[in-house]
Symmetry: C2
Amino acid sequence: MAKKMDKAKKQFHCPVEATLSQIGGKYKMTILYHLIHDGTLRYHELQKKIPQATAKMLTQQLRELESDGLINRKVYPVVPPKTEYSLTERGTTLTEVIDSICNWGCTYMAGTFEE
Amino acid sequence: MAKKMDKAKKQFHCPVEATLSQIGGKYKMTILYHLIHDGTLRYHELQKKIPQATAKMLTQQLRELESDGLINRKVYPVVPPKTEYSLTERGTTLTEVIDSICNWGCTYMAGTFEE
DNA sequence: CCGCATCCGAGTTGATACTG
DNA sequence: CAGTATCAACTCGGATGCGG
């Protein structure tokens, strides 16, 4: 599938950069986190769970995740429209990564409430 | 001179966002990765290891990491100047997070040679 | 010389309104 | 409901300059 690669020629100097090229977007990890926890979510559900992200950004990040084969986008041709997002198999391999991040975040929040 | 100071007061909707508020910067995870692996690095050493980051961005990301108490900045008042960066104790708690990311990146790179 | 602050152009993100 | 369009605001990259 030779698709248009905007970031073609990108070579990674370390494995961290390779991962960030896939999930380094501003809201990608958060999107993945919610999809991991809830399995399948509609567009509007994600928007409610990530209120800081505007509709444009959310759409953009979702499309990029879809292009990278991390999530699935299923559109139901009904009225009113219905679009569901879910993890692909490759997306589920990120569970441990997101889980580590989530775990550290919990510890961080537990020890930084007396600011 | 507008400085970012409201990061600590940010309300997080999920633990992932809390973590990203600390290491979500464009090169922060990469910086931490190198510091985890090499222990202590000079400014110019980091620049060589992360060539995509400009000097300005590298300085900015390092200052933010320092403000968040994740890294230590030690300046030697000598000629020529010498600045060393190393992880703080809090910074070392991110080892497993960075390690997960690094691990996934290795797997990703190994299995993505399609064209 | 090394570390890093500053100015400006370019790309990215945000807020609001609009369409199918 | 899901997504697009437009413009304003912010961020990033590159070049330059400066202090030690």
